[in-house]
């Protein structure tokens, strides 16, 4: 019989290597899945992991890696702060949408002005929008003790409706021949977030890098980061250490909301280009996976975000070239999180083979 025994110390070697093991196990299990679907598993795995980076058309896919990875990383960094403290913001998708709406709205209000202040203004508006959307569950939790998981999740659907309303109404392009969606922001010189579209570089990529660095400093050097970790690990000890839980909830939900809002703003004014009904592509939800895949560590999230982006791009290629069903790709991505969380157990526990009946 298998028995789990708690390790006195979390194993450092395993905590570093389990993400890699999880990727390998996912490849094996995913390979079996693809084989069961009648596809060549080796070709499928190569298409997903190798082709986007080193294949024939890699010059096209590599910039995509940044474009898809940046919002994931930016959002996941924000979420990881709360997750570390045991504050569960599941509604980043909603904060992402509201950030995009506020940022785009703030810019479009001045169309077609040309000002160097326009883009920074939009950035602030986007961050504030996401922050405000994140403060709704935060304030409700602080004042009435509501569950932030439910409230933040429900607000995603409210944001979705607002997005539809805005792309069909207030923000609709007046010169758009009645098509839903706003003016194209990406082509508008002083409002675009693109720095170098050919290389996939936009301000969101820069923001994601800055967020990784700042989060690293916050968690490792700053007392607030210590308090965040302490609250997640031992809430009672945190109160004993004088941590104010209310302030922490407001900070974590506010920050993750603001970062998600920023991600939305950079996306709407760059890669996506306009406010549209199907603007929300699920980055806010995938970022939850990214945060955990990166073990809530800023550097880990950076790597996990890129890996996740890779499976997205590779998955798209596999869908079109190998006719793999989209659902199979999603299962594959789900496996990754599943195996990571399952293997996580090993950092804190040792598996022992006990003699039957002895337990």
């Amino acid at each position: 019989m298998l028995r789990l025994e708690k390790r006195p110390q979390p194993s450092r070697a395993l905590s570093l290597s389990t993400p890699l093991i999880a990727v390998v196990v996912t490849m094996i299990a995913g390979g079996l899945l693809f084989a069961a679907l009648g596809k060549n598993p080796f070709e499928a795995i190569r298409t997903i992991f190798w082709d986007p980076l080193f294949g024939e058309y890699a010059f096209y896919y590599r910039p995509q890696l940044l474009v898809k990875g940046a919002p994931l990383i930016l959002i996941a960094i924000g979420l990881s702060l709360g997750f570390r403290a045991g504050i569960w913001n599941i509604g980043a998708e909603g904060q992402y949408i509201i950030g995009a709406l506020c940022g785009a709205g703030a810019g479009l209000a001045f169309y077609p002005s040309d000002s160097v202040f326009l883009f920074p203004f939009m950035v602030i508006a986007g961050a504030l929008g996401g922050w405000a959307w994140g403060m709704i569950p935060a304030l409700l939790k602080v004042k009435f003790g509501t569950n932030e998981i439910l409230v933040s999740l429900m607000l995603v659907y409210v944001a979705d409706q607002l997005l539809a309303k805005m792309s069909l109404g207030l923000l609709k392009n007046p010169e758009g021949f009645g098509f839903p969606g706003s003016r194209n922001i990406a082509d508008w010189e002083s409002a675009t977030s693109w720095i170098a579209a050919d290389y996939g570089l936009h301000w969101g990529v820069a923001a994601a890098m800055i967020a990784v660095i700042l989060a690293y400093i916050l968690l490792n050097k700053h007392i607030l980061g210590f308090n965040i970790r302490l609250s997640g690990e031992a809430p009672r000890a945190a109160r004993f250490a004088g941590v104010n839980p209310t302030r922490l909830i407001l900070f974590c939900l506010g920050t993750s909301g603001a970062l998600a809002g920023l991600a939305g703003l950079f996306e709407v004014s760059g890669p996506s280009g306009q406010v549209n009904i199907d603007f929300a592509a699920g980055y806010g939800f995938t970022a939850i996976i990214v945060a955990f895949l990166g073990r809530l560590h800023p550097v880990g999230i950076l790597l996990a975000g890129l890996l996740m982006a890779l499976t997205y791009i590779g998955g798209d290629i596999a869908e079109s070239q190998l006719q793999l069903p989209a659902a199979a790709i999603q299962v594959f991505q789900g496996m990754l999180l599943f195996f990571l969380l399952a293997l996580d157990l090993l950092t804190n526990y040792r598996v022992k083979f006990a003699i039957q009946g002895a337990a």
Partner: protein, 505 residues
């Protein structure tokens, strides 16, 4: 009474480092309420776990109606007719009462029949309970009823109740006692574990008293005074107090009419507590666990805020301040629960040193942590208090209880407190470590700090305190100089009988 239901002879159970039960023998008659009385750690829980088949005795035998009885697991004990209501409920909040009851049964009947049976039993025994209600909506008392009814449906011959009234309101206690008396009248025996003396006096026919794992006596509670029972619980081999009280020092800590409702629904309300501690004085506070110790520590450490005038330190009202503001003024505390309260289990000793040391040791500059100074503070604690660990990078949970306790106490002592409040400073710590912790507290007092030591170890309190008081149901007894206190008087203070003093004496 028709005969002996369960007879226990010579039961012994040892755990590494501690003998939980040492040749305990007693008998439970059919149709009686038998009390098992003792302080925390006296071995009550281990004993009933052996009867219920959860723990196997090392030696000794049990006999059920004359036949051998050695349950290998709870299922066997239940089949024989033993049922147990635990102190902590095992119920699922999201399920209904009937579903919860069904989960605990070997062969649950169809849900409709079960609901009817639950209704019958609950009406029969005066325990109103609707089988369709969701457990999450029930009060603590109602939850206990679910557990009791779950037991009654098995038609037990012996019902074990582990501190059933600790979560009940006085009205609920009254209902429970009626039910228990009805059960008794029907011939069911009840083994009733408690440390509330008055309760036992009203309810129980016989009492067996445990101290340090040994059966130290039996009595008929109705004919014994609370004081006598308390004396048996406490024992008469108390350490004689050695410290004389210094009167006339500067009053450092002053608590005035402190009342506080607990943040924990099972907690104890503090009621109108007042005391003073002078510089260089150690005030020892005894009392059985769960009588407000945690709450008092929280009120003094700043985890629970009170009216600002309720806690005054060196003339400054601090009741409204949080833990860090108080630390700045030199008011430090070490809570009872090491893992999860005094220390974060998965964090390193360095991080745990920062946990309370940040303010006074100036380990933070402009909100950034000075890790190298934090590490040297942790190393200082480790060497000064002889904490056995590979180094400050070890996780707190990897330390043994005694070593972590030395770290936790050392962390506060080395910060040079004006006021130090500790709860159970040597709980679960081996004798040598306990002695060094006590010595460090004595040294601290000698240097002019005011100490409040909350403990359940009376020997410890007698050794180090110069004044003594006891907590009972959130009230504090009169504070008296420790020198000259007799066991008799201590038992009285602890048993909450200080109100009865006038009536009896």
């Amino acid at each position: 009474m028709t005969g002996t239901l369960l007879s226990i002879s010579g039961l012994t159970k040892a755990y590494p480092g501690v003998v939980a039960n040492d040749t305990v023998s007693f008998e439970i008659q059919e149709g009686e309420v038998h009390a098992l009385l003792g302080e925390n750690g006296a071995g009550k829980s281990t004993l009933v776990k052996m009867i219920y088949g959860l723990v196997k005795p090392d030696s000794g035998t049990m006999a059920w109606k004359g036949g051998a009885f050695a349950p290998s697991e709870p299922r066997v004990a239940r089949a024989t007719g033993v049922a147990m209501v635990f102190q902590h409920f095992s119920l699922f909040d999201a399920l209904s009462v009937a579903e919860n009851v069904a989960l605990g049964m070997e062969n649950p009947p169809p849900m409709r029949d079960l609901a009817t049976r639950i209704r019958d039993v609950s009406e029969n025994y005066g325990l109103p309970l609707d089988p369709d209600r969701t457990v999450g909506d029930l009060s603590a008392g109602e939850r206990q009823r679910v557990e009791i009814i779950r037991c009654l449906l098995q038609d037990p011959k012996l019902l074990i109740m582990d501190e059933p009234t600790s979560v009940l309101t006085p009205q609920e206690v009254e209902i429970l006692f009626k039910t228990l008396n009805k059960l008794k009248a029907e011939g069911t025996s009840i083994l009733y574990i408690s440390h509330k003396l008055e309760e036992i006096r009203t309810l129980c026919d016989h009492a067996t008293i445990l101290r340090l794992g040994k059966n130290v006596g039996t009595c008929i509670p109705a004919e014994t005074t609370a004081r006598e029972m308390a004396e048996m619980m406490v024992g008469d081999t108390l350490h004689t107090p050695t410290r004389t009280a210094n009167e006339g020092g500067e009053v450092v800590l002053e608590v005035k009419n402190l009342s506080l409702s607990s943040s924990n629904p099972f907690g104890t309300r503090l009621k109108d507590i007042s005391f003073e501690v002078q510089a260089g004085e150690i005030l020892g506070l005894g009392g059985v666990a769960g009588n407000g110790q945690d709450e008092l520590l929280a009120a003094l450490s700043g985890e629970a805020k009170t009216e600002s005038q309720a806690v005054v330190v060196k003339g400054k009202a601090v009741g409204h301040m949080g833990p860090n503001e108080r630390r700045e003024l030199g008011i430090l505390a070490a809570p009872e629960e090491r893992l999860g309260h005094a220390a974060a289990p998965d964090m390193s000793l360095t991080e745990n040193a920062l946990l309370t040391g940040a303010i006074r040791q100036k380990l933070i500059k402009n909100n950034f942590v000075n890790w190298s100074e934090t590490i040297s503070f942790a190393e200082k604690i480790i060497s000064a208090f002889d904490v056995r660990t590979p180094g400050p990078a070890s996780a707190a949970r990897s330390l043994s209880g005694g070593n972590l306790q030395k770290f936790v106490i050392g962390r506060e002592v080395l910060q040079d407190p004006e006021v130090l409040v500790v709860n159970q400073p040597t709980w679960g710590v081996d004798a040598a470590a306990a002695a060094s912790i006590r010595q460090s507290l004595l040294d601290l007092a000698a240097n002019g700090a005011a100490l409040v030591v909350i403990s359940q170890d009376l020997d410890e309190l007698m050794e180090i305190s110069d004044h003594f008081g006891a907590l009972n149901e959130g009230r504090l007894s009169e504070i008296r100089p420790a020198v000259g206190l007799t066991v008799d008087e201590i038992g009285l203070m602890m048993g909450g009988a200080h109100d009865l003093e006038d009536a009896h004496v």
